[in-house]
């Protein structure tokens, strides 16, 4: 059954001193893809500045705002409504030739085609000395190994907010064994890539109505490319496969390619920002 979704994203920003010039870029619009369509976007800001719709360097939709007067406070509100089809994550061919799949990921052409999602980045770099934290069992299928990795990541990290921030490196996450969705996802991406599986970091929303863990802001999970299957979503924070409750905004190599809000503020002094996200769904 498809779901009708309504998402509200709000952010309030207050500044101690006048802001004379500022630019924001939001990367928060649910993307149009096979399972997400009829996307309707309403976006507004409290200063009535122009909302400039565009696409970023990786091809995802953005909204840029550049107020043309000075201010101390600005609020943004985005409302998205769209249809999300029902996803059965186990719906893929059963007659996969595992030997061929393992052979394919070793081929140069494959490595070149998926190069950006095989490369380690500063946020997905496994520190030296922790090589054998999780290894693929080559007698299992790639899919089974990834499920196992999903499970392993879930069991090895404890979900805890406030202990990490958006640029916490894997070294610290591995030793603290705690973190939030982006930390789970960075660790998962790093290990999957180390095992030769193209893996991308996904940013989006999660429907928490069914008790899933996530964030009151945005959620993160991973997508892996499995030969003969295609891209499959894994959510290590919840130890599940991505499904109808996962609303994708964009993907990239890591959080840096996907940060929901980039801002350049010409001011000084203290500032306060709050975000809230509300996800509502209705089965049709």
């Amino acid at each position: 059954m498809p779901n009708q979704y309504n998402i509200t994203y709000r952010t309030e920003n207050t500044y101690e001193n006048w802001v004379n010039d500022a630019y924001w870029q939001f990367l928060i619009i649910p993307m149009e893809n096979n399972s997400q369509h009829h996307i309707d976007v309403e976006f507004s800001n409290s200063l009535f500045a122009v909302n400039d719709f565009s696409i970023n360097g990786y091809g995802f939709r953005t909204i840029r705002v550049h107020p043309k007067k000075k201010f101390k406070k600005i609020n943004f509100e985005a409302k998205f409504s769209f249809i999300k089809d029902h996803i059965d994550p186990f719906n893929f061919p059963l007659d996969i030739n595992d030997a061929l799949a393992y052979k394919e990921i070793e081929e140069l052409t494959f490595k070149i085609n998926f190069e950006s999602f095989l490369r380690s980045t500063p946020l997905t770099n496994i520190p030296k000395g922790v090589n054998s934290i999780f290894e693929f069992n080559l007698s299992n299928t790639i899919f089974e190994n990834l499920q196992e990795l999903n499970n392993w990541t879930f069991n090895n990290l404890q979900f805890k907010t406030g202990v990490t921030h958006v640029d916490t490196k894997l070294t610290d996450i591995i030793s603290a064994k705690q973190g939030v969705c982006q930390d789970f996802t960075h660790l998962f991406c790093a290990i999957a890539r180390q095992n030769g599986i193209p893996t991308r970091y996904v940013s989006g929303y999660i429907n928490q109505e069914h008790g899933l863990l996530g964030d009151s802001q945005m959620h993160a999970w991973a997508e892996c490319y499995i030969p003969q299957v295609g891209w499959k979503g894994f959510d290590p924070t919840n130890n599940i496969l991505a499904n109808t409750n996962h609303i994708k905004v964009c993907h990239g190599k890591d959080y840096n390619d996907c940060s929901p809000l980039r801002g350049i503020i010409y001011s000084y002094g203290k500032n306060k920002t709050t975000h809230t996200v509300k996800v509502q769904s209705q089965e049709q």
């Binding site: 870029q25 400039d52 970023n56 490595k111 190599k253 980039r262 350049i264």
Partner: protein, 487 residues
């Protein structure tokens, strides 16, 4: 004609092991230099000193200066200049010009391939690690078709003459190569000081650079634009090359802007003017990739234009040079240039590459270990001259150490023969006389849509310290006017 009596060259000492640009092996002045030699010989050294200092003060008066970063007291300096020019005859120039175009075109095709199908990587001509490990590789450029199909609009190719009398390329600079304003200013200064010398030589003009640059920049305008609006963007007056940015804007007759003068709306770029916003179509940018758009690249950049990359991706503005071009401007990619030229153009390289031995290949490793004293050993992944060992300057113990390091990690090292840059008589302030100094030549090649231009001249850079091989202006190098002769 043998060595004529000549006051200003009477104390000139020639080292027979070096390739002198004006004297042949027998000590005779080469034919193309004879007239010049005679004319300069009519002057005394004190005349020359006089003229030289006048030329220098004219550089100061015009503000043709640069700054050296890192000095505690930042000073405006002039690029040391001497009035004795370098001459290149039309036959040699023909090789340089054809070779520079060939390299620039091959680099352009290479960049297109790297950001599209990556065939050269799939065909195992260039290893993929070389590309993706480069800090200048921009994922965001994948699949983008730059207007006119050009990435490296402006290439600064550094060429030397080795003591075998042949030209070799040392580097291909295709990010924001600078120095072209000095080429033109050197010519102007020489004309002011010694106008008469030009009567005896048919020398190509260099002052047409700006008009050609503008024409070629206009040829790569975005689709749907009739008469493009071109601007030059500079990081600002504190940049070491600010003089050049303002010079190029002025001589092209276009606006010189900083990031804050531009804004992006609806994916078009506009310039703020007193008459209201004016659309900008082609940007000759002298700001590095990471700083051009704080919303897409480094967020702490105050130099760029927020939203610029989105406008570029949409095809609404041309950036010259294209973002991500630096991936081909790399020591490791350089070593593959002969293969790159062959792969895309099916031609033999016109200009030589300095031969490179890859220690990752067993037979080449063997050669390197046996001939280490004749070679320069360079790590492939370091920039700025770090980790370089010059074989003939190493002690026995150091040689063993370097050998051990290479054997430990052969993938990390390449080796090249030690090159000997040609020398040219250069006026030296301290001794008030002419001495041999090493020189190189930076050429400027501009690629447009289906046309190209090479500045007939170039920047001859001089290493002013005796025996020094480093010619960069920040390292105390100077420059000379460079004459390319017509037939």
């Amino acid at each position: 004609m043998t060595n004529i009596e000549n006051q200003i060259f009477s104390s000139y000492q020639r080292n027979p092991d070096l390739y002198d640009e004006i004297y042949d092996k027998e000590g005779k002045v080469k034919e193309i230099y004879q007239k010049l030699f005679e004319i300069y010989g009519e002057h005394t050294i004190s005349d020359y000193v006089n003229l030289n200092s006048k030329a220098k003060s004219s550089f100061f008066n015009q503000g043709i200066t640069f700054q050296v970063y890192g000095d505690s007291d930042v000073q405006e300096k002039i690029f040391p200049f001497d009035l004795f020019p370098r001459i290149i005859d039309h036959k040699e120039w023909d090789i340089i010009e054809r070779g520079s175009i060939q390299r620039s075109k091959a680099l352009n095709l290479f960049l297109w391939d790297v950001y599209h199908d990556k065939k050269i990587l799939k065909d195992k001509i260039v290893p993929i690690d070389l590309i993706t490990s480069s800090a200048n590789y921009l994922d965001q450029m994948n699949g983008i078709n730059p207007p006119g199909g050009i990435y490296n609009h402006i290439s600064g190719i550094d060429i030397i003459k080795h003591n075998d009398g042949k030209y070799y390329v040392l580097e291909d600079n295709i990010r924001c190569p600078s120095g072209v304003s000095y080429v033109i200013c050197n010519r102007t200064a020489l004309k002011k000081a010694l106008f008469g010398v030009f009567n005896h030589y048919q020398t190509h003009s260099v002052t047409n650079y700006a008009e050609n640059l503008l024409e070629l920049l206009e040829s790569v305008k975005p689709k749907g634009v009739d008469v493009p609006n071109v601007v030059v963007i500079t990081p600002g007056m504190y940049n070491s090359a600010f003089y050049e940015h303002s010079y190029l804007a002025k001589t092209m007759g276009v606006e010189l802007v900083e990031g804050r003068d531009l804004f992006v709306e609806n994916d078009f770029v506009y310039m703020k003017t007193i008459k209201g916003p004016e659309k900008v179509d082609v940007i000759y940018r002298r700001i590095d990739d990471q700083f051009i758009d704080p919303l897409e690249f480094r967020a702490d950049s105050a130099l760029g234009v927020p939203g610029l990359f989105a406008a570029y991706k949409k095809g609404n503005v041309t950036l010259a040079n294209a973002p991500g071009t630096g991936v081909a401007d790399d020591k490791a990619v350089y070593t593959y240039m002969p293969q790159i030229i062959k792969y895309y153009l099916d031609e033999e390289p016109i200009l030589n590459n300095v031969h490179t031995y890859h220690c990752s290949r067993p037979d080449e490793l063997k050669y390197v270990l046996e001939h280490i004293q004749e070679l320069v050993i360079k790590p492939v992944d370091e920039a700025g001259g770090y980790g370089i060992s010059i074989g003939n300057k190493l002690t026995k113990a150091e040689i063993e150490k370097v050998k051990a390091e290479i054997k430990e990690n052969p993938r990390k090292y390449v080796a090249q023969p030690i090159m000997s840059l040609s020398v040219h008589p250069t006026y030296i302030d301290e001794t008030e006389s002419f001495e041999q100094r090493h020189v190189d030549l930076r050429t400027y090649t501009v690629l447009g849509k289906d046309k190209e231009f090479v500045l007939k001249g170039g920047l001859t850079r001089v290493a002013l310290k005796r025996g020094n091989l480093i010619v960069n202006s920040s390292q105390g190098g100077g420059s000379k006017d460079t004459w390319v002769l017509k037939k």
